[in-house]
Amino acid sequence: MAREGAALVTGATRGIGAAIATTLASEGWPVGVNFRSDAAGAERVIAAIEQRGGQALAVQGDVSDPDAADRLCAQVEERFGPVMVLVNNAGVRADNLSPQIDDEDWRLVLDTNLSGPFRLIRRALRPMMRARFGRVINIASIVGQRANPGQANYAASKAGLIGLTKTVAAEVARRGVTVNAVAPGLVQTELAAGVDEQRFFEAVPARRAGTPEEVAACVRFLASEEASYVTGSTLTVDGGLTA
């Protein structure tokens, strides 16, 4: 990595986000480690990055807040230069069968998982287009492509994220900016806690959950120079579940 600028990873204090932040730092990117409330978690991720000789900065903000995109990008810019790699990872679940999803749980999930990424993309594209380089990676989910009863709001947000990915990719492709999605299946994280693992594993050809590092490896590729002709795609990381 010889480019100027930095990476910004939302929801980077644990699980997949933490693994992505650590991985991009090891590729040479200074990383903005976004957190909403877990300042101690952000500090742990930053300490791990710095211990390996990388650079990182904690940037607080709730991506569902309309003002967050500008604030997060500005903080990273001030310290490390423009955001050249944006990873929209922050996400929430509020599971229920559709008749039981109230407006608040609909809004929370859509605002965080879809509107937040849109605003960050809109903000980050400006310097990327000028630099004729940029990498946007949206962490979607296989639930955005395949039914999972009890997650109508989450599924809608993730399917929306995949649609957003494809259209923005087509809009900015001629500027050297790529926009891709990664769609994990079941990964060992706190967000996935409570999933009936035994039932689930029987359906997974790999017979196990994935690790955050296995998802981060896909992000590392999509963020790399070598992935310059990959755009608008969704890379599924699910142990064969949707194969």
Binding site: R126, M129, R130, E171, V172, R174, R175
Partner: protein, 82 residues
């Protein structure tokens, strides 16, 4: 700090920005259409961002879509800044 949007300052900046987008500088006249300069919709988005950064004038999507010539862009920015 935003630069004062005098007609001359705006014209200079707009011409410079369009040249940076790849158009031949001597073809960038007030009457030249964006189409003839091979400036597409995404280029106009970039141009409006340069203008916003320089003069503090925000060009919304529908404004940008109405622009046909280089002169249209200059006049709109000057009018908005007034």
């Amino acid at each position: 700090m935003a630069t004062t949007a005098t007609p001359q300052a705006v014209e200079e900046k707009v011409v410079e920005a369009i040249a940076e987008l790849g158009a031949e500088r001597d073809e960038i006249t007030r009457d030249a259409t964006f189409e003839s300069l091979d400036v597409d919709s995404l280029d106009i988005v970039e141009l409006s961002q340069v203008i916003e950064d320089e003069f503090g004038v925000e060009l919304k999507g529908e404004d940008a879509q109405r622009l046909k010539t280089v002169g249209d862009a200059i006049d709109l920015v000057v009018a908005r800044a007034a």
